[in-house]
Amino acid sequence: MFEFISKRILGAIPLLFALVTLTFFFTSLMPGDAATAITDQSPLASAEDVAEIRASMGLDRPFLEQYVDYMGGVLQGDLGRSLFTSTPVTELISSRIVGTFALALVGTMIAVVIGVGAGIIAGLRPHGVVDRVVTGLATLGIAMPNFWVGLLLVWVFAVTLGWLPAGGFGQPGASFGDKMITLILPGIALGTSAAAHVARQMRGSLIGVMEGDLVTALDVRGLPRRRVVLRHALRNAAIPVLTVVGLLAARMLGGAIVIEQVFAFPGIGSLAVTAVNTRDIPVVQGVALTVGLVVVVINIVTDVVHVSLDPAARVQLS
């Protein structure tokens, strides 16, 4: 197991390396550079100003040198500074990422609880009334854009009923409870389509197991029906669902960009949008790297959980 984890981590290193390289070269394709991005904001800047800024940022040096420099910085945990506020990018990101994590966590929890529950109820009685309702809702849930769900929730629960805050992540220094309350609506918006995906997967997977050879064999072995379903069928059906949950959790980081916009939520997604609009290159690079790293970590965690829960996968490893 330890060997497996370390192997997976080692295997991810080239990927992360490629990601850093790609991000750097990619942003260097941009028309203009950081210096012009700054001077674009102040109409009075002259050509000398641009040159001066360029020199101060080391942008007049050869391209490869800059790359090596950047890579060296990344390895030491230095992602540069924002062009406009001079705040270190790592500081910006760490102040924002907690909110996004909290949001994605709430979304994932909603997806798992509702999706798994609904999927089991539907899958145990395929083609019954409950199943039709669940499959219908799941099909609808997958088709609804999460930002629209968010807007509807804001309209109904914040604007019209006034029950919950329309956005933000609590005032500075807000209590933990206040912060949690602000997570409810965006969490639901983020979790709805994921719950629909999980429900479909859980249902399909459970039906597959229930109609499969294993359940026939356990039934013929004389085990009580309840035990066959609760202990054996559910456990076997849960394994593929686990992989889907891992994928969805990673995908929520992307979904969070728009959701944060809708809810004026200070997360890493809104940081990225602002940075793109002002062409604050170091911040864009930093966010891309961070998100890539988080996705890689989620994938590794999913694999590890999968292997630790599925004996057959464990046997295949050794």
Partner: protein
């Protein structure tokens, strides 16, 4: 040799497959006419019209402002109300369709245009190109799509075309992976290989052989991508990276509407409805496409949307309750108490079109005595697995027992309640499946599973259960039993797993063991060990064994008695020795000729033709169309089992005309008619 069936409960699924096409075939030709498809198709037609001729559907000018009438709700003149500048919302929605659909189609099309050739080439040539391409895709996929898109927008600037180009790159990996997998699958197939060997240029092979064969899969992928791209377009518009106002687009309308939500909430409702309905229609259609083209691969559909219920499923099925019986009273009540396992007049049927029941097992009688092994022999599709499963009271869904009774140790199991039946299965009868690996739960150790059966069998002391488990594994000759209890099924080889399954079947000292092709999936050397084990168990414990096999060689080796099954019926019964000395049914003779004979130069010959599928059985002898001795009278009326010597019977009216047995003379037709 007769055909070797694949592992698993293949025989039962084969029956289901043959029973169902009549029901599925008709429907599938008109899949698009089903009500659940008409609505999405109509919606898409409407959207196409809105894209081509928006003026036809909306008479208001989408850009005409009317500030005196801003932010009004739905009304007679403005069906969906007006926005903050007094512009007609319906009209803006209709005109926005073009942006959404064309932007989506552009992104999905571009992604396919780049991804498909890349993936196909990568999967076809394999090697280094493939490795590099797949690595690159891994890197791209490490970033969530929307992040990637806005990062690209940061580089190349905003605007709809740039935004949708960025979105298309996000979808390239999906197309590339899919076409790579398809290319890998197809390149090994005969027609591609022969084309390659004949020196055709690679580009032609890819275009002529590969592309058309993956077209449907790609079509489904395109539809799904289209839906996602439409969503991405509006998401980016909402972020301000899409079309510039005042031109209408759904995402832009949502974005604008959200600012005036407090005064006119409907503004955020309508564009979302348009998006959802569009995406929903596309998804439903691609689901239907997918189901239609993958129909052949499985009988059981799992994740389809509602509305696709086969008639079979609507029949309620009690687990062993009797559904309908034509000759229940006609059979003299036989006494099943003498035998370990007795089956009388068993008929099993499967529902087909219009609630009609198609028989698959027809009036089967069997009896297995203590300490004896009865071989139930026949080709795949003869109904032997169904008969064997019925021996433990299991009828595979959606089948029903239409007649007959089954006794285990004198208990009529057809009259038992659910829990009583489970108890009997635990304690009185063991069942061994063909594929041990799919009959053991991969999630639990072998010890855990043996322990479970013992515990429910009434052994409450944990330590005693443990020692009994070790004893059981010893008994089925698994070395190092104590240690192996803690292993998972995946750690056992096929033969060892089969032994575990036998141990599980024996756990609570049953009197009957039913084994369904337990050695078919195993190597010959391993086979012999299992056969010896079963023989020994029967001899030592007085176990009555029903042994199902298609292999006459195995049956000859192991069984005391033989029952030959064909097309749902028993066609010959006899003690083993006299049967092999002189088979009394042309079908049995055909099967025995199919055996390779040691020391003989003549090739074994199979019986031409196939077992007729349930539903296609004639009134008379079901073997007649493959039989060299068939005469008109054979097919005129049902043939009963006739007396064929001491304790022997045969379902053949020309029984007395059979030539003396000589393995080298044909009794089956050389050409199937």
């Amino acid at each position: 040799m007769t055909t070797v069936s694949q592992p698993g409960l293949m025989e039962t699924t084969a029956v289901l497959e043959t029973a169902e096409p009549a029901a599925g075939g008709k429907r599938s030709s008109a899949w698009w006419r089903s009500p659940s498809m008409v609505v999405p198709l109509l919606i898409l037609a409407f959207l196409a019209l809105a894209t081509a001729l928006p003026g036809l559907l909306a008479t208001h000018d989408p850009l005409r402002q009317d500030l005196t009438n801003a932010l009004s709700g739905p009304s007679w003149t403005h069906w969906l109300g007006t926005d903050e500048a007094g512009r007609d919302v319906w009209s803006r929605l209709v005109h926005g369709t073009r942006v959404s659909l064309l932007a989506g189609a552009y992104a999905a099309g571009l992604a396919a245009f780049i991804g498909v050739p890349l993936g196909m080439f990568s999967g076809y040539v394999v090697g280094r190109f493939d490795r590099i391409a797949m690595r690159a895709i891994d890197v791209i996929m490490a970033l969530p799509g929307l992040f990637l898109a806005i990062a690209m927008i940061a580089v190349f600037g905003g605007g709809l075309v740039v935004a949708m180009t960025a979105v298309s790159l996000v979808f390239v990996p999906g197309f590339a992976r899919l076409s790579r997998a398809e290319a890998l699958r197809l390149r090994g197939q005969g027609f591609v290989e022969s084309s390659r060997l004949s020196g055709r240029p690679r580009r032609r092979i890819l275009a002529v052989h590969l592309l058309p064969n993956m077209a449907t899969v790609l079509l489904v992928q395109f539809a799904l991508t289209l839906a996602l791209a439409i969503l991405a377009e509006s998401g980016l518009s909402l972020l301000g990276f899409g079309l510039e106002p005042p031109d209408p687009s759904w995402g832009g309308m949502l974005s604008q509407g959200s600012r005036f939500m407090a005064r006119q909430g409907w503004l955020v409702v309508w564009p979302g409805v348009a998006l959802t309905v569009t995406v929903l229609s596309i998804n439903l259609l691609s689901d239907a496409l997918q189901r239609r083209f993958s129909r052949s691969s499985s009988v059981i559909e799992d994740s389809g949307p509602v509305g696709a219920v086969s008639p079979a499923r609507s029949v309620a099925r009690p687990s062993v309750g009797l559904v309908a019986s034509d000759h229940d009273t006609g059979v003299p009540a036989p006494d099943g108490s003498g035998a370990a396992l007795a089956i009388r007049g068993l008929s099993i049927a499967f529902p087909a079109d219009g609630g009609r029941l198609v028989p698959a097992v027809d009036d089967v009688d069997l009896a297995v005595d203590q300490g004896r092994v009865l071989g139930l022999v026949g080709e795949s599709g003869s109904g032997k697995t169904l008969t064997a499963l019925a021996g433990v009271g299991h009828i595979p869904t959606p089948g029903v027992r239409t007649a007959g009774q089954i006794w285990v140790n004198g208990t009529d199991i057809t009259s038992l309640s659910g829990p009583q039946l489970q108890r009997l299965r635990r304690e009185e009868v063991g069942f061994v499946f063909q594929s041990a690996s799919s009959a053991l739960d991969p999630m639990f150790t072998v010890g855990n599973q043996v322990d479970e059966v013992l515990r429910f069998g009434g052994m409450s002391d944990r330590k005693r259960r443990r020692s009994r488990a070790i004893e059981l594994l010893d008994e089925v000759e698994i070395a190092d039993a104590a240690r192996r209890l803690d292993d998972y099924p995946a750690q056992f080889s096929g033969g060892m797993a089969q032994r575990v399954l036998i141990a599980l079947a024996l756990a609570n000292n049953p009197r009957v063991l039913i084994a369904d092709e337990p050695t078919t999936a195993l190597d010959v050397a391993v086979q012999q060990g299992i056969l010896d084990l079963i023989r020994a168990l029967s001899d030592d414990h007085g176990l009555g064994v029903l042994f199902v096999t298609h292999d006459f060689g195995v049956a000859a080796d192991l069984c005391d008695d033989i029952a030959v099954m064909y097309a749902g019926q028993i066609v010959e019964t006899s003690a083993s020795e006299p049967l092999f000395a002189d088979p009394r049914h042309p079908y049995t003779r055909g099967l025995m000729r199919a055996l390779p004979v040691v020391g003989s130069n003549s090739d074994p010959r199979g019986i031409p033709g196939r077992v007729p599928a349930p539903g296609t059985w004639g009134a008379g002898c079901r073997f007649a169309n493959r039989c060299a001795m068939a005469i008109e009278a054979c097919t005129a009326e049902p043939v009963r089992l006739l007396d064929a010597g001491v304790d022997r019977s045969s379902r053949c009216i020309r029984l007395d005309d059979l030539e003396p047995w000589n393995p080298s003379v044909e009794t089956t037709r050389t050409e199937a008619s």
